[in-house]
Symmetry: C2
Subunit: 140 residues, 2 copies
């Protein structure tokens, strides 16, 4: 069960890595992000102009709780590295939804509870985070 | 033997990770850099102003040969990510020496053979790569 969960997490991260490279970005999975004492995200991606530090959650449950510590560590890393901090969450059979940390803070105070409804309301799609939809809108 | 070599490489990478954080940089080890089809370095580090993509070699032998492919992949990743490509090499009981790819090219044509003497002649120390010695010199 634990191993399956871990495997599920790794597979989900690889899925995002593929998506980034497909869009011309460079992206890497971070090794043993839990095993060293430093804050670190699951994925670091860049297109040489923007850098993203991403914490990934692939969940089977209806709701996902995030700890204050997870958010703080992502913030700390992103600040030091000079990257935008993002939380990416994927509920089973759904798209990835991306949250900026400000949106997380505004939704549930210090609780950081996320469910699919909230993700659909407040989350951004992968292409939106990369600014692809935005550009198309500007063309109209 | 293979496992020992791999372990030695991981330990050496962790050593550099610690050094970066100690200097106020954020640094991560890249997961399974060989297992996905994308070019990726062993370490990505940043202080929000500069970003470094580092290929690490910790070697027991007197001489280390690098393949053309390793150099090309490092170059490709660094370009896409917007990072400086560096090769870091540490011979047993010696300091880390850093090479920019230009210096590698100039030394041995397409062979990329590195030994300790060359490292001491042409390589930069960790602090030099981070610009610490430079700043001290400017103060005089």
């Amino acid at each position: 069960m634990v191993k399956n969960k871990k495997q599920k997490g790794s597979d989900a991260e690889r899925e995002l890595i593929h998506a980034f490279w497909k869009m011309g970005w460079a992206a890497v999975r971070v090794a043993g992000s839990g095993s060293m004492k430093y804050p670190s995200p699951d994925i670091v991606a860049s297109n040489a102009l923007r850098r993203l530090a991403i914490e990934c959650k692939a969940v089977g449950e209806d709701k996902k709780y995030l700890t204050q510590q997870e958010i703080e560590q992502l913030t700390e890393f992103a600040q030091k590295f000079g990257a935008e901090p993002w939380l990416a969450i994927r509920f089973d059979n759904e798209n990835w939804y991306f949250f900026s940390l400000d949106d997380l803070r505004n939704t549930k105070g210090n609780n950081y509870a996320l469910d699919l409804l909230l993700a659909k309301q407040k989350g951004l799609l992968f292409e939106e985070v990369l600014g692809i939809f935005k550009q198309e809108k500007l063309k109209l």
